[in-house]
């Protein structure tokens, strides 16, 4: 049963299949997005689809290597990995060492390839979080443990925010799902949801008093329902007052803490400004590409938006446009379906682990993939402001592909050992 030499024994083939499917879909769509009839060769390294092909090959090798390696010491090595990543994240911030690409000081040039430490920070953070939370007598419900867990997540966030890569920074927020699964009060999720809702509403509705009146009304209504529960009444009262305070605070916070381009992007999504030429150009063209795909799409390599390069960054952050345009709603269903299957599969895997380390790590993987998938597609269809994060395994980019490969195959390796001793 526990034949350690049978590397592929107990490997979760469903996950591997979904992984391969997404990589393949990615490569074909990158090919469509950057196709230039003058470079017809499929693996020409001067083109992005050529490079991506090589990245895929490297990723497959890395995947096999991970499956071959011993996973038992992973938990022990987690702090070391974490420290290395944090050091790398600090290194990129040193002028002259880190390379600035597209406004983000996020890259280290290794000569043969450029490395993006923030991609690997997600992995090592998940590992350390799993290691810490799986420790004996560690409960998220305890303030001390909660703060340490929060600190593990916050440190790389702060460093990445310095780059400033907003997208990657926000990805770490998704780890709240991990904490929730491990016992964090559901109020954290609810309060976070309410804050986001209030933030959006107060930006859309210029007059704060409308929102304040609505909040007071909602507060009284809830207090009436819970009039028997004194503790609840008090909570609701404090909550309402805090919410009203927040409504007034949001505008100043929004105006001060965000950059002009961030505010512009948010304004476009919320429909406060109707701009299709400058800030809103990307998103508008992206929506046109996806919307014009209809049910079955325009056909592979026949999307006019894609082939005539109307959508900037189409092979990376806006790769979903190619799918929407050339494969239509059918293609959208397949891709969204694949991600959802992957996420559910990861949760199934998580819950069948004997070791808490593996389970917590699995939830970390699911959270990160979910956040990428949700934010990226939302951005291409105009749900979210433009935040530069890739679509996992589909978007062009070596670091991204490699980091998701490592993230997933570490989980597969852990899972294949689930029956073993840990």
């Amino acid at each position: 049963m526990n034949n350690q030499r049978s590397f592929f024994f107990n490997v979760d083939w469903v996950t591997v299949f979904i992984y391969l499917a997404l990589c393949t879909i990615g490569w074909f769509n990158i090919y469509a997005a950057v196709l230039d009839p003058e470079h017809a060769s499929m693996i020409d390294t001067h083109t992005r689809y050529g490079s991506q092909f090589i990245f895929m090959m490297i990723a497959f090798v890395v995947a096999i290597v991970i499956l071959l390696l011993e996973s038992r010491f992973l938990s022990a090595l987690a702090p070391a990995f974490y420290v290395i990543t944090v050091l790398l994240l600090m290194t990129v911030l040193i002028p002259g060492v880190g390379r600035n690409v597209g406004g983000n000081q996020a890259w280290i040039d290794l000569g043969f390839m450029r490395l993006q430490p923030s991609e690997f920070a997600k992995y090592t953070t998940c590992l350390l979080l799993a290691r810490y939370l799986s420790g004996t007598n560690i409960k998220v419900t305890e303030i001390k443990s909660f703060l340490i867990a929060g600190g593990i997540i916050l440190l790389p966030m702060i460093l990445i925010k310095k780059q400033p890569d907003d997208g990657s920074t926000l990805v770490f927020c998704s780890l709240i799902f991990v904490l929730y699964r491990e016992g964090l009060s559901p109020w954290f999720l609810i309060v976070t949801g309410v804050i986001i809702l209030l933030f959006v509403l107060s930006l859309i509705i210029p007059n704060p008093w409308y929102l304040v009146s609505a909040l007071i009304a909602a507060g009284f209504l809830l207090m009436y329902f819970y009039r028997r529960n004194r503790q609840m009444l008090l909570g609701l009262l404090i909550g309402t007052v805090l919410a009203i305070g927040l409504v007034f605070a949001i505008r100043p916070i929004y105006n001060r803490s965000l950059n002009a381009y961030q505010k512009d992007r948010i304004a476009v999504v919320l429909g406060i400004t109707h701009d299709t030429r400058h800030v809103g150009y990307n998103q508008n063209q992206s929506k046109i590409a996806i919307g014009s795909g209809r049910m079955w799409g325009k056909g592979y390599l026949k999307g006019t938006q894609t082939q005539y390069s109307f959508v900037p960054e189409q092979s990376t952050d806006f790769i979903f446009c190619t799918i929407g345009e050339e494969w239509g709603f059918a293609g959208s269903i397949v891709v969204v379906g694949l991600y959802l299957s992957l996420l559910i599969r990861i949760i199934v895997i998580a819950e069948r682990q004997r070791s808490p380390f593996s389970r917590i790590y699995a939830y970390g993987v699911a959270s990160v993939i979910f956040f990428h998938f949700f934010i990226n597609i939302s951005m291409t269809i105009g749900f979210m402001p433009v935040i530069g994060i890739p679509l996992p395994l589909i978007s062009y980019g070596g670091s991204s592909l490699l980091s998701f490969t490592i993230l997933l195959f570490t989980l597969i390796k852990l899972d294949s050992n689930r029956m073993g001793i840990v």
Partner: protein
């Protein structure tokens, strides 16, 4: 730890919900909302108009009057312009640095990414030297276009010109024309615009996000080809057209020649004219404004827009009506004492000549005013002295049948209908019953309240040549292969005179050339029937008028020539007409017994010095002090009857002419 096991369902639930929300949004965008398909198409498809070649216009023998000539436009795409030798480029296309900057700014303002015209219509030589060096000038392209060219350099007013369409026409065209399109503005170019312009094609080009063309939308399935404009064959004979233009050089006036058996216009000279090639190419606007300010009004289409008193050339028509009405017979004689007593006034015959006893033919031949005053008086007194207005209206209607005072609806824009006073006009003027035949007697010799265009004069001759009918005069014989372009051009318009009554009048007209007023222009071997006219203009020299047709039997050409301020009809108009007639019938000009040669007439300058103040085409007006005095007194007398102030002024002008009954021919 597994106490929170159930939370896996919450997290799974959140994942599924989010995925479903995304799918719902995608479903809305991709299936329900169909705007995006349109946006995508608008993004990528640029309909580009393919302009057809404009149809050529030929003369009746197939000589090209207007054709198309290739020219090159220098196009610019400002975003693609890179550093280059600006001065060399300016030198090649013949502009200065300042002009370059101006054009560049204009193009950039139009669109930095789209192509626009930088400099239009380069000559073949310029474009040839530029062509081989174009690679040195990134962002610039040479594009082939066609412009009008006039190999014959003639018939400018007949052909008209094309120009950029104005906003009013764009609005009226219902979206057909766009800014920058060319359209026929005058002449045949204007009246046959729909036939000449052809059918535009559309190419649905695909462009990428930078506006670069990437092939045809749907492989050209929605593209349409341009269909070239129709070839128009005009009725003009370029030989006599060119001869006519040379003969009329440095003179103000018109020549209109019609083929009586078809109504086709053979010659259509409006003088002074201009070279139509002047309105093509880069100097177009300069030339245009220069021509537009020319005091001799070269843009005026005199054959159909200038109005003249026909003078004695009107006499044959008067005689025909009188015979038809039975008030005279060809044998009716009149003893001319050198003057005529009309009412209580004595009007001199031309130069006081005493014609003695004249019959109809000799009265026409020698242009005896007395005879025709007599004829006219008989016509107007036909119904008795109390019914002057009835008789006048009867007479007027007969005259109108010949095409006087009404439009002949020639296939050119801007035709003038001419003028002939009505009885109501005189009623207003003299009070009802206050006028009689003697009052309006000068109408009998084609003077005073009668104005005709040269086309109308020529049409009268065509009617006489046909012995009683005319075909509507027209300029275009066939469109493409279609021979009959309008049914009305094949219909005979009868003027209500029996064909038998024409012989004595034609006898007289033959005698005009053989022994009468125009004896000097006789063409050996060709029997030409004509009539001179010396029409008063009210100022300066009289207008020289000659109308004719030839040969007498089976006539091939009817002609009217007007030389403004040329004096007597026999002096200028008649010789010019005779050369045109002979050139048309024989294709050569023989030695004349009188010794006249075309060269003499070609070289003669008769341009009136005062033309600038009284542009031709406007009614002649009185200018002598004496007439002004009469005018003043009349003004006071008639003030009560004339209501509208501007109407009054027009009427007074007419009135002034009433009192000019000095010796007419």
């Amino acid at each position: 730890m597994n106490s929170f096991f159930a939370r896996r369902y919450v997290i799974t639930g959140i994942f599924i919900t989010v995925a479903l929300i995304l799918l719902a949004r995608l479903f809305y965008m991709q299936i329900i909302d169909d705007r995006y398909l349109l946006f995508a198409k608008n993004n990528v498809v640029r309909p580009q108009i393919v302009y057809p070649a404009r149809g050529p216009i030929l003369d009746r023998r197939g000589v090209i009057l207007v054709g198309n000539q290739p020219v090159y436009d220098v196009m610019i795409t400002p975003k693609l312009v890179k550093a280059f030798d600006t001065l060399e480029f300016c030198r090649l296309i013949g502009i200065d640095k300042e002009g370059f900057d101006k054009r560049y700014k204009k193009a950039y303002k139009h669109s930095p990414r789209l192509q626009s015209v930088f400099e239009g219509q380069l000559s073949t030589i310029t474009s040839a030297s530029l062509q081989e060096r174009m690679y040195e000038f990134p962002g610039f392209d040479l594009v082939l276009r066609t412009v009008r060219s006039y190999p014959d350099s003639s018939a400018a007013q007949f052909l008209g010109y094309i120009g950029e369409v104005n906003d009013a026409r764009i609005a009226k065209s219902g979206g057909y024309y766009r800014q920058g399109d060319y359209i026929g503005i005058s002449g045949v170019e204007s009246s046959y615009e729909p036939e000449l312009r052809g059918t535009r094609g559309v190419q649905n080009l695909m462009v990428d996000s930078r506006g670069a063309a990437k092939g045809h939308f749907a492989d050209g399935a929605y593209d349409t080809a341009a269909v070239a404009g129709e070839r128009l064959t005009s009725s003009l004979d370029s030989r006599i057209q060119k001869l006519g233009e040379r003969l009329m050089a440095n003179k103000v006036g018109s020549i209109v020649a019609i083929e009586p058996s078809t109504g086709e216009i053979l010659c259509f000279v409006s003088s002074p004219t201009y070279n139509p090639n002047q309105l093509v190419g880069r100097q177009r606007s300069e030339n245009y404004s220069e021509l537009n300010q020319d005091p001799y009004k070269p843009f005026l289409v005199r054959p159909i827009q200038a109005r003249y008193q026909p003078g004695s050339s009107f006499k044959p028509l008067d005689a025909l009506i009188a015979i038809q009405e039975g008030v005279i017979t060809p044998q009716t004689t009149y003893n001319c004492p050198g003057y005529y007593i009309a009412g209580n006034r004595r009007i001199q015959c031309f130069h006081g000549e005493v014609h003695g006893t004249v019959n109809l033919a000799s009265a026409v031949a020698h242009s005896c005013n007395g005879y025709f005053f007599m004829v006219f008086e008989k016509l107007i007194n036909q119904k008795g002295p109390k019914y002057t207005d009835t008789s006048f209206t009867l007479w007027r209607d007969k005259v109108l049948k010949f095409g006087i005072a009404r439009k002949l609806n020639i296939d050119l824009p801007g035709e003038n209908s001419g003028f002939l006073a009505t009885s109501a006009f005189y009623d207003k003027w003299y009070k009802r019953g206050g006028w009689r035949s003697s009052t309006v007697i000068s109408l009998g010799i084609g003077q005073s309240e009668i104005l005709a265009t040269p086309l109308q004069l020529a049409n009268i001759e065509a009617t006489i040549a046909n012995r009683g009918f005319f075909y509507k005069p027209h300029l275009i014989k066939s469109i493409g292969d279609k021979q009959i372009i309008k049914k009305e051009y094949t219909e005979r318009n009868y003027v209500g005179i029996d064909s038998g009554y024409f012989a004595p009048v034609i006898d007289g007209m033959q005698a005009v050339v053989e022994r009468g007023t125009a004896v000097g222009v006789r063409i050996p071997g060709i029997i030409m029937c004509g009539k001179t006219g010396t029409a008063q203009t009210g100022h300066g020299e009289d207008n020289s008028v000659f109308v004719a047709f030839a040969p007498r039997d089976n006539p091939k050409i009817a002609i009217a020539v007007v030389v403004e301020h040329g004096g007597q009809g026999a002096t200028w108009a008649a010789p010019i007409a005779s050369f045109i007639v002979e050139k048309y019938l024989r294709d050569s000009i023989s030695r004349r017994p009188s010794g006249i040669t075309p060269d003499y007439y070609m070289n003669k300058n008769l341009l009136p010095a005062i033309v600038a103040k009284t542009p031709p085409g406007k009614k002649p007006s009185a200018d002598s002090l004496k007439k002004a005095a009469v005018l003043d007194s009349l003004k006071k007398l008639k003030q009560k009857q004339v209501a509208a102030a501007n109407k009054k002024a027009a009427l007074l002008k007419q009135a002034a002419m009433l009192y000019k009954h000095k010796g007419n021919e």
